[in-house]
C-alpha cells in the first residue's frame, strides 16, 4: 500500500507540474471560454444582418413589430412610406433590409428591399407574419386568432421513467454531456499514461523502478494518479465554465416539439442512482482503457511509435461513444442491449441506457459483474505485458513473444 501511495503522490505531483498538463488545462479553459462566449459574439455579428426597418401601412407596421422581433432586430419604422428607393437603404449602412407591408382588401403583401437578398429567409418571414396575414384574411380578432393558433397538445409518458417530455430531454442532455466528458477524459488521459510509461522506458529509469517497487503497484499508482488529475482537470473546466456564466450548449434533441426547451435544463432529471451508475461505469471504463494504453506504452522503444500503436486502441472507444449516442435515442434495441455488456464499450453504453430508460436491475448487475471481471483480467494481462515490456529494448516484441509472456 505504501508503494502505491508513494508512486501515486509522486506521479500526481510530476504530472501536475508538467508542461503538458498545464497547457492542457489552459487550452481546455480557452476552448470552454470560446464555446461559451463565441455564440454571443456571433449573435452580435449576425444581428447586423437581421437589422431591418418596417415601412408601409401604419396599422400593419405597428402590429408586425412584435411578431418580427423574435427573429429580427427592428432598427426603426417608417409608417406611411409606400415607396422604397435604393437610396433609402444606402443612407443607413447598418440596416440590412427594409420590409414594406401593404394591404389590399383582405390580402397583405410584403416586399423586402435587401442589401443582400441571400440574407433574407422568406420562410421565417412568412412564419412570423402568418398570424397578421390570417387576421386580415379571416377578420377574426387578435385574441380569438391567438387562441385558435395555440392548439393544446399534451405528451404523456406511458412506458418511461420520465413523467414529461421535458424531463426526458433534460436527461438526454445531461447524459450527452457526461458521455462526452467521459470520452474526452478517457481519450486524453489514457494517452497521457501511455506517454508517461513510454517516457519511463525510453529514459531507462524503468529498471530501477521495477527493482524497487512491485510493477502492479507502479502501474496502479500511475493510473490512479492519472484518474485523479483527469477529475481535477474536469472540475477546473466546469468551474471556469460557470465563472464565465455559461450553460451547456444544446445537443441535437430527439423531440423536435421540444426544441425551444433545449438551451437550459434541470439537473433534477438525473437521479442519484444515475450519478452512481456514471461513477461506477466511469471508473470501470477509465481503468480498462488506461490499463490497456499503459501496457502498450511499455512495448514501445521510441515515443514516436506511440501514435501507431494507439490507433487500434482508439477504435473501440470511438465505437463505444457512437453506440452510446444511439443508445440515448434507442436504449432498448437488441444491438444496444448486447453492447451494454461488452467490456470497453459497456461503460459508455450502459450508462447511456441507465439515464434514458428503465434498465432491468439484472442487466445492470450483470454488466457490472462482467466489466469488473474484465477490468481485473485486463489489469492482470497488462501487468504481465508491462513487467516484461518495460525491460525489452531493441526491436518491438513480436505477438508470439507477448503471447508467451501472457501465458507464463
Amino acid at each position: 500500500m505504501n508503494e502505491f501511495i508513494t508512486v501515486y503522490s509522486a506521479e500526481t505531483m510530476r504530472r501536475l507540474r508538467s508542461r503538458i498538463f498545464i497547457v492542457g488545462v489552459l487550452l481546455g479553459a480557452l476552448g470552454i471560454g470560446l464555446i461559451i462566449k463565441l455564440p454571443a459574439y456571433m449573435d452580435t455579428v449576425m444581428s447586423q444582418a437581421d437589422r431591418v426597418v418596417l415601412a408601409g401601412d401604419p396599422a400593419l407596421v405597428s402590429q408586425a413589430v412584435p411578431l418580427l422581433r423574435k427573429d429580427y432586430h427592428i432598427a426603426g419604422t417608417m409608417p406611411g412610406k409606400t415607396v422604397v428607393a435604393p437610396s433609402d437603404l444606402a443612407d443607413t449602412k447598418r440596416i440590412s433590409a427594409i420590409i414594406l407591408l401593404r394591404r389590399s382588401g383582405r390580402t397583405m403583401t410584403v416586399a423586402v428591399y435587401a442589401r443582400d437578398p441571400g440574407n433574407v429567409t422568406v420562410s421565417s418571414l412568412r412564419r412570423d407574419l402568418l398570424p397578421l396575414s390570417l387576421q386580415i384574411a379571416t377578420g377574426l380578432s387578435r385574441t380569438d386568432l391567438g387562441k385558435a393558433m395555440k392548439l393544446p397538445i399534451t405528451v404523456r409518458a406511458t412506458n418511461s421513467k420520465f413523467g414529461t417530455a421535458a424531463q426526458a430531454n433534460d436527461a438526454r442532455i445531461i447524459a450527452y454531456i457526461m458521455l462526452f466528458s467521459l470520452y474526452i477524459l478517457i481519450m486524453i488521459n489514457s494517452q497521457l499514461i501511455m506517454s508517461s510509461v513510454a517516457e519511463e522506458k525510453t529514459s531507462r529509469i524503468a529498471e530501477m523502478l521495477v527493482a524497487s517497487v512491485n510493477p502492479s503497484a507502479l502501474l496502479s499508482g500511475k493510473i490512479a494518479a492519472s484518474a485523479t488529475l483527469a477529475i481535477v482537470q474536469m472540475i477546473i473546466w466546469i468551474a471556469i465554465g460557470f465563472l464565465l456564466g455559461g450553460h451547456p450548449g444544446a445537443p441535437p434533441t430527439l423531440d423536435s416539439a421540444e426544441s425551444s426547451h433545449a438551451t437550459t435544463f434541470s439537473l433534477s432529471s438525473v437521479s442519484g442512482a444515475d450519478l452512481a451508475g456514471f461513477a461506477a461505469f466511469f471508473l470501470l471504463g477509465y481503468l480498462q482503457v488506461s490499463t490497456m494504453f499503459a501496457a502498450v506504452g511499455s512495448l514501445v522503444n521510441r515515443t514516436e511509435d506511440l501514435g501507431a500503436l494507439a490507433g487500434p486502441l482508439v477504435i473501440p472507444i470511438v465505437a463505444a461513444f457512437l453506440i452510446a449516442m444511439t443508445a440515448l435515442g434507442a436504449p432498448n434495441t437488441p444491438v444496444v442491449i448486447i453492447a451494454s455488456f461488452i467490456p470497453l464499450i459497456a461503460p459508455f453504453v450502459m450508462f447511456a441506457r441507465i439515464v434514458v430508460s428503465d434498465v432491468p436491475s439484472w442487466q445492470i448487475v450483470l454488466s457490472l459483474a462482467i466489466n469488473i471481471a474484465a477490468t481485473y483480467g485486463i489489469a492482470v494481462l497488462a501487468g504481465k505485458i508491462y513487467r516484461v515490456g518495460m525491460l525489452l529494448y531493441g526491436r518491438p516484441p513480436k505477438l508470439s513473444q507477448i503471447w508467451s509472456v501472457i501465458r507464463s
Partner: protein, 299 residues
Amino acid sequence: MLQVQHVRKEFGAVRAVRDVSFSIATGSTFGLLGPNGAGKTTTMRMIVGIYIPDAGSIQWKGMPIDGRMRRRFGYLPEERGLYGRMDVREQIAFFGRLHGLVEPDVSARTDRWIENLQLTEYAKRPCAELSKGNQQKVQIACAAVHNPELLVLDEPFTGLDPVNADMLLATLRELKRNGTTLVLSSHQMWQLEQLCDHFCIITGGENRASGTLAQLRGAWTTRVIRIEPASAAVRGILDRVPGARSLPGEEGDLLYEVPAGTALPEILRDLVTVEAVTRFEAIEPSLHDIYVHTIEGAA
C-alpha cells in the same frame, strides 16, 4: 547470506543464464565478472527480483526473495536513467520513499547522500541538466539512500572520471563498513580487486571460476618471478629450475615463469651464492590475468 543455486533463465530461444551458482556472505563484497553477454545482468536482475529464474533458487538469509525483502535491497542497473524534469533532491527522496523510508528520515538521508557525493550545488536542479557523471552519482544515491542490506551494482564505474570513480570507491567502502552486502559487476578489474572479497567469473551463462582472489590464484598453475641483475650467472641458475621459461622483461631485469609449486626460497638461496641479487620478486597473477586466462580457457 545470499545463495544463488543453479539458476537458469531463458528468453525464447536465447539461454541468457544456463547454470550459475555462488554464495555471498552477509557484509562481504562480491565481484561478478564476465565478458559482454555472459549473463551477468540477467543474474543480477534475478537477484533483485526483476526476473524470476526458470530453474534454480535464490535465497537471502535462508529465505526465498519476496516483495518485502526486495525493498531492503538496492539496485543500480547498467542502463542509466532518471526522471529528467525531477530535481536531484526530490529524485533521491522518491526512491527512498519507494523503499519504505518516511519523514524525517528520508530527508535526512537524502541530504547526507547529496553532501557525500558532492551534489549540493545541484540539489535543486532538474536531473536532465546534470552531466553524465553527476547523473550517475544521483542514481547511486537513489539505489543506496535507504541503506540497503544488499546492494547490487551493474557496471557502477562506467562513465565516471577518475576522481568520481575514487569517490564511488570510497562510498562503497563506507557502505561495506556499515554492513551492506555488495554485488558488483565491472570491467575495471583493478577497482574490483581493491574492493571485493569474493569473485565469480561467468561466461556463456555458466560459472567458470569462483572464490577469493587467493583461491583463484591458488588454481593458477604458474608464477612469475622478477630478478635483478640480469646477469649470465643468474640466468644459468634459473634455466636449471624444472619447468621454468624466460619471459620478455624490462631492461636490467629478468622475468621467468615457473610452476606454481616451485620452492622460491631455494631458488633465492642458490642465486645469492652466485650473484649480489638486488631484486627478487614473486609476482602474483592479477585479477585481470585470471579473468583473461579463464575466459580464454572457456573459449
